[in-house]
Symmetry: C2
Subunit: 557 residues, 2 copies
């Protein structure tokens, strides 16, 4: 067989030739209204034009002296321009390093320095960050600004593209060289970098396309709301490009109203985001229906949900009230990211109780990914793999051609372990796997509650509590207990106008679904739960806040 490498240029060439008329739609910020609120403007282009500009970007970077293997960072929202960077940067041999726009400036700069980025492409929305970045990131040689208004000393993205030579030739690329780079969210310790290869990018885009994964084809219109700075937007920009699906980007407009309008107006068939986004959308769909002006989302086939687990109540609400299907996917920065996708097995109906219970799990591994469960250390100091029986919890290990084998600069080696001569990534998740391969995340290992030597899943309790009508958000954390070591405490944010339901009612609400010893010792109401840059609860902060708490309610805060 021919030795044809799996590289990003094959994706760029595919859209440039086969799909050049397919649309790419972006919601850009056109300015602010008199009240200071951002005003959106729809921008329409095609894959042909995006591909042409991506090649100009590749040329321009080469002319700036960027060499194969150099890191080129982006600080940008989802848009056609970010897609140009996705296609153009790896195609000239450099590494696309997408930086989370929501980090603390110190952390952004720490990451730019750690990655030793030579070029930064920054959206004008974030121009205010430039002076500080320039002062603190000495290895950054060029800053390119997308959109008008870049400060002096920066390069204008449009001018650069216009001046670049159009006759770019792809360099010879090895499929194992890096195409992209992401940093973990770093809820513990410093963020760690993960390099994605050309090979893993192409393989992931093939394996995530079929109907039992994300089901992407040329007739689809896909809106990835999951940010392009977040694990390559779950690979969707590439998966869609390979398949020829139209892409819609809502940029900084991810509130329920903006999302609902874009889904309707662009006849979106597949969309993807974290649970928080879908909670916002659900509220808007409910409001519109009650107002007698429901949205027409008849073309919408699936809302892919990942990042954290979607409660079954949310899945049921979308299905029963709006006929819309949430589809769970699971992955991590280290798995590039898709490891599993929820899909109904033959014979199980989506709207049966069994179907809903399965949909609340994270699904089954996509082709080429392997999963395993590992025990804690046994008495004789060994670890062992655990049965896939649907109830035994273990540390989830992953392996596959798009799973990291190390972090950038060799950090965090403890997360990569060898079992019977094979390398596995320890996800830090606690999960179960059943006989048919359905994976169910129980907890992050550091969030798991260890009571009397047994494990209690905070995620399961949270999802159950969020189905209570008075509860908007729930986080369950471990509190120290002299007898059981740890016991669960539920920290709740109530829905507007709701009262604390009381210990007895909440206990009665949970009791039918959990063993008695799983039930929280107490339910505390707070105004808000701290949330990190990727939209997840910061339980570490909650644990600090409730350190020394006892069930009688007299916490030493």
């Amino acid at each position: 067989m021919m030795d044809v490498p799996l590289t990003v240029p094959t994706i760029l060439e595919r859209v440039r030739t086969l799909y050049r008329d397919r649309e790419v739609v972006s919601l850009l910020m056109a300015g602010r209204d008199q009240g200071g609120a951002p005003v959106a403007q729809v921008h329409r282009t095609t894959y042909g034009e995006v591909a042409r500009r991506a090649l100009h970007l590749a040329s321009a970077l080469k002319e700036l002296g960027v060499r194969p293997g150099d890191r080129v960072a982006t600080l940008a929202v989802n848009s056609y321009r970010h897609l140009e960077a996705y296609l153009g940067i790896p195609s000239m041999g450099a590494v696309l390093h997408t930086v989370n726009i929501r980090l603390h400036p110190d952390q952004t700069q720490w990451i730019l320095n750690h990655a030793e980025d030579r070029v930064l492409i920054v959206e004008n929305l974030f121009a205010a960050m430039i002076p500080s970045i320039r002062a603190n990131c000495p290895k950054l040689e060029h800053i390119i600004v997308m959109g008008a208004g870049g400060p002096e000393g920066t390069l204008d993205y449009e001018t650069l593209l216009a001046q670049a030579s159009g006759d770019f030739e792809y360099p010879d690329l090895d499929e194992r060289q890096a195409a992209a780079m992401c940093y973990t969210s770093g809820t513990t310790g410093n963020p760690k970098g993960v390099l994605y290869s050309h090979r893993s990018t192409v393989l992931h885009s093939l394996a995530s396309a079929p109907k039992d994964a994300l089901n992407v084809g040329e007739r689809d219109v896909v809106m990835a709301i999951v940010p392009m700075f977040h694990v390559n937007a779950w690979g969707l920009p590439y998966t869609c490009a390979v398949a020829g699906a139209a892409q819609v980007f809502c940029g900084m407009f991810s509130d329920g109203v903006s999302v609902a309008r874009m889904l309707e107006q662009e006849k979106v068939s597949i969309t993807a985001g974290v649970p928080t986004i879908w909670m916002g959308l659900l509220a808007e769909l409910d409001r519109a229906r009650e107002a007698g002006q429901p949205y027409d989302l008849s073309r919408l086939e699936s809302l892919v949900v990942g990042g954290s687990a979607a409660p079954e109540a949310l899945i049921r609400a979308f299905q029963t009230r709006h006929g819309l299907t949430l589809r769970h996917a699971w992955g991590m920065t280290e798995t590039h990211p898709i490891g599993t996708v929820s899909v109904m097995p033959p014979g199980v109906s989506l709207t049966s109780d069994e179907g809903y219970a399965l949909q609340a799990k994270q699904g089954r591994r996509v082709p080429l990914v392997e999963l395993e469960l590992l025990s804690d250390l046994t008495d004789d100091g060994r670890v062992e793999t655990l049965p896939h029986d649907g109830h035994t919890m273990g540390r989830l290990l992953a392996r596959g051609p798009w799973v990291a084998s190390s972090y950038y600069k060799g950090e965090g080696q403890a997360n990569f372990i060898e079992l019977s001569g094979k390398l596995w990534f320890d996800t830090g998740d606690i999960a179960t796997l059943d006989e048919r391969g359905y994976m169910h995340i129980q907890d992050r290992s550091k969030d798991l509650i260890k009571s009397g030597g047994e494990w209690i899943s905070s995620v399961d309790l949270e999802n159950a509590l969020m189905a209570h009508p008075a509860v908007a958000q729930a986080a369950v954390i471990a509190i120290a207990d002299p007898k059981w070591d740890e016991r669960p405490l539920a920290v709740l944010v109530l829905r507007p106008g709701q009262q604390h339901p009381g210990h007895a009612e909440l206990t009665a609400f949970l009791a039918p679904r959990f063993a008695k010893w799983w039930l929280p010792d107490a339910y505390e109401v707070v105004q808000s739960i701290p949330i990190g840059a990727t939209g997840k609860f910061l339980k570490r902060e909650l644990r600090d806040q409730f350190a020394g708490y006892t069930a009688s309610g007299t916490a030493a805060r």
Copy 2:
């Protein structure tokens, strides 16, 4: 990223763990009735059982002394046992060499000797061939017979599996090592062997699954009628295994009645075969409907057609009379095989004239495959690539990670050419490519008619002629012409009870669709057109038969 190789064992492990309860159904021959006709019997098993037995087969081969890289041949029809060979042989490091059961015995033996097969697994249906094979293939060390009645000195497949150790461990496999091997049909010269790697097998199974290719998922029931000895049944046994689709095999029963019954009874959703099979099925569906007992094929979503081009008339007949969709795919032994699949672009209806015209083309390249058109030698002795404009005909070149880079033992190097530093396979087909990438095979280069320096496509004329109500089969060949070098002659097989429509009527029938100089000079009726072992017209024999023919009808035969 982890260095996880793309290998057949990952496919075997996937069905063994995730899809073990999914069904595998085979139509076996149970004996013969009093009239000597074969009697069919349905055999049902599961992927779990197939996987278990495949591992026993792998063990057994190892115990027989088969080493990595050794060739293990099969002479078998489509069945669960052949699927076991597909999964088991490559998983122990040997090369699955599927041999066409329809070849002349001399050619079968020539191929077994050329491939230097060490083991042959043969279905008892073909037991009569064993003595001669044994006498003429000295390198063959073991003959294993599937089914009862193997002659003395052969090994029984079931006994072998039962005695093999069940604790097989996969060897370390390099993804670029050979997993399988097929020989070309060899309509010119000796057959040539093509080695398929583990990598190409896995990549092909990923790229052929999405909805714009074969659209295979776990809920599908797939019946590959295309033989498993024919280019790995277009990769379907592997594609289905990766996706978890149930598989149905109709074995030696590929007549219209057997096929229609199996499609209905097993609720098949996807099936695949050559045009001849679909002609037989269409006749049976028409008959049943006219008899007031139509088949219920409501689960059937697509009939994949390849091997040779399906006439538009056949595509229309299935759609308009039975609501069934034929989906063109194109490939060759050298492309492992799928290069293109026909799929409607957004906005084009399947049942519009534009839709039918597109469906009669071979479709667009699947991800990772590249196609190019090459000119004949120019006046200054060079070749050049030709425009993709939908009408310029050129030699079709293919390139991709599942396209051959050479033949076994380095034969036929002239078919592999380098252009701008890249290797391409010269398919020997003459085709057009349009702006959107739709490929349309015009002819085999050797069958093309060169009239007055211009090219005439025999395939286009044949497909148009087969839409005439009197015509069952049509083959158009070149006859020598003193003025134009070559001119087209149409050789026809009439439908039962039909008369020769006459030169004037056929000319009038074709005239609206072709330039005047394309129209055949003559229309000759024959009883049958010679067909080769893979179901294609043997035009070489027709050309011999009509050598010296002149349009006045006085051929020197």
